[in-house]
Symmetry: C2
Subunit: 138 residues, 2 copies
C-alpha cells in the first residue's frame, strides 16, 4: 500500500477508490489473472466499476512498475503481482502459471551476444509442459 501511494505521487496519479480496490485485489492474488478475471473480482467489492477502468488501471500499474505483464501465447494479457525475481512453469493444457523461485535461475549469466548496446531489464526461465493436475486427469 505504501508502494502504491508512493508511486502514485511519483507519477501524479490520483488515489481513487477504484485504483485502491484494484490494487488490493491484485496484490492479494496468488494467481496470474487476466483483465476479465480482475474485473470480476473487483466488481464483487466495487459493483459499479467498469471493465474499462479495470483494464486501464492494470495497464497504468504496469507502466509505473507495481505490476508485471507475463508472457502468453496471444490470448488475453495476464498480470503478475509478484515483483520479485522469479520464474514460471506454464501448463499448456490448463493454461495455469506456477511461480518458481530458484537462485541458480536468478543468477544465470547474460549471454555475450546481447551485451553490446542492449539493456536487459529482466531475465527469466520459462518451463512449458503439463502440470501434475492435467497429467493426473489423463
Amino acid at each position: 500500500m505504501d508502494l502504491f501511494r508512493q508511486k502514485c505521487k511519483e507519477y501524479n496519479l490520483k488515489t481513487t477508490p477504484q485504483r485502491v480496490v484494484i490494487y488490493n485485489e491484485i496484490r492479494n492474488s496468488k494467481e496470474h489473472p487476466c483483465t476479465d478475471n480482475m474485473f470480476k473480482k473487483v466488481r464483487r467489492i466495487f459493483p459499479d466499476i467498469s471493465f474499462d477502468t479495470v483494464n486501464r488501471t492494470l495497464l497504468t500499474f504496469t507502466e509505473i512498475g507495481i505490476l508485471n505483464v507475463v508472457e502468453g501465447y496471444g490470448g488475453p494479457k495476464r498480470f503478475d503481482p509478484d515483483l520479485n525475481n522469479h520464474h514460471h512453469f506454464w501448463c499448456i493444457r490448463c493454461n495455469n502459471i506456477i511461480d518458481l523461485y530458484n537462485k541458480s535461475y536468478d543468477n544465470m549469466k547474460i549471454v555475450k551476444g546481447v551485451q553490446k548496446g542492449f539493456t536487459v531489464l529482466r531475465k527469466k526461465v520459462i518451463l512449458e509442459g503439463i502440470c501434475n493436475k492435467c497429467n493426473r486427469r489423463d
Copy 2:
C-alpha cells in the same frame, strides 16, 4: 520439406498448394512473424489465399510440431520456425524477438518443485529489455 510431407502423412493432412507455400515462407523466415505478416508474405506468392487459411494452417502446423508459438504479451500470436532449442531476447520497445543460442542455457537444470507429476516439454530463457537499435534511437 521432407519433415512437412512426413508430418502430413502422419496426421492425414493433404499437401495442398496453400500449405506448401505457407510452409516454405515460414521456413525461410528469419523473423518471428505474426499471422498477418505471414498472410502478407504468402499472398505475394499465392494472391488468392484467404487470411483464414493462413491462420488455420499456422495453427495446424503448431499442432503437428513443425512450428512453435512464442511467448508474447497479449498481442497477436507470433510463430517461430526454428525448432532447435534456443532462447529469446525481447525488445519491449520495438517488440522484436532476437534468437539466442547458448549451451549453458540449454543445459539448465529443471528445478525440484516441478519434477513430481509434471512433464516439462520445453525450457527456455527469456531476456527482456531494450535492443541496440532502440537504445541508439534515444
